[in-house]
Symmetry: none
Subunit: 157 residues, 2 copies
DNA sequence: TTGCATCCCATAAAATCCCATGTTATACCA
DNA sequence: TGGTATAACATGGGATTTTATGGGATGCAA
């Protein structure tokens, strides 16, 4: 009975010859509360796979509906890209999912996958690429520290 | 909804061969009110481990969601950095948590850990490093804030 | 049938639990 | 006030469970 929805930590797992990989048990525990499958799609901006609960995509759909025009090119493009690419991945009794060629290729993953928690979602990376990416982010954040103080909330939009 | 709690004091505990260390009982008492686990991550700026309640991360998640754009690079970077590094550490019936190699290495901790209260958070240090850090902080404060002692009003007791 | 995906079992490694014991802090009593 | 009994806490080590992962069996579709 926890409403905690945070994918955390960085976990390295093997991908076997069949494309199967264990979903980290922490992640499984979260997912299990509402279903037995996750949704994955190719990241729009990085060479990695993104995963989340179907919930999030649902919210995103609503979000896109309210913040872009129904007939806009933007709405068209976003919905095509995101929902056209996303796919459900049920995990088996041992907690594994079977990733597709398309996804693995996009992330350049062969035999090892790195799961990176992102709060409401997570990413799956090729180990070397993630190493570089993490270094880049750390350098970036240290250089210009973002402001994270609670800003006065605005009621518009 | 609790808001009046503070991690205080400085406590030294042993880290055993399995990486286990007792969470100071004062800290445990605080945590127990809402859960049985804490969240730890590598400090971004110091060679130490930071710990807090999951609440704090959850707030942060919401915060980031509302103050940056869903598709922005900033949101991406921040969530990767924060949630990718943080991990839940449940404590067992005797009150111990099992720290990971990654964290211990970052803080240079081998067989002894120093817990330092920081209010809503706390830090875990290698003893020697903490000693130096504390001295540094004290020196810094003395140098930059020479007026720490308002002139004593009439002596009495 | 052949190829592909899922299911099931086996096993090794790692994380966790549980009991025993030493140590420190607190309570109680004379 | 001092000294002892009691409880709380910290810590060590072994037992148990969970998790990750390989491989084979099974079922379905083309």
């Amino acid at each position: 009975m926890r409403s905690n929805f945070l994918f955390l930590d960085t976990i390295i797992n093997k991908v076997d010859a069949k494309g199967r990989v264990s979903l980290p048990s922490d992640y499984r525990a979260i997912v299990k509360e509402t279903s037995s499958e996750i949704v994955c799609y190719r990241s729009l901006t990085s060479p990695c796979i993104e995963g989340c609960l179907e919930d999030l995509l649902d919210k995103l759909a609503t979000e896109i509906e309210t913040s872009t025009d129904f007939f806009s090119q933007t709405q068209d493009d976003l919905t095509n890209l995101i929902f056209g690419d996303a796919k459900r991945f049920p995990f088996d009794s041992t907690g594994r999912i079977g990733l597709t060629e398309k996804l693995l290729k996009h992330a350049n993953i062969t035999d090892t996958a790195v799961f990176v928690g992102k709060g409401r979602k997570f990413q799956i990376w090729n180990p070397e690429n993630w190493e570089k990416e993490e270094a880049r982010i750390r350098a970036e954040v240290l250089k210009n520290r973002p402001v994270l103080r609670p800003a006065p909330k605005e009621e518009n939009k």
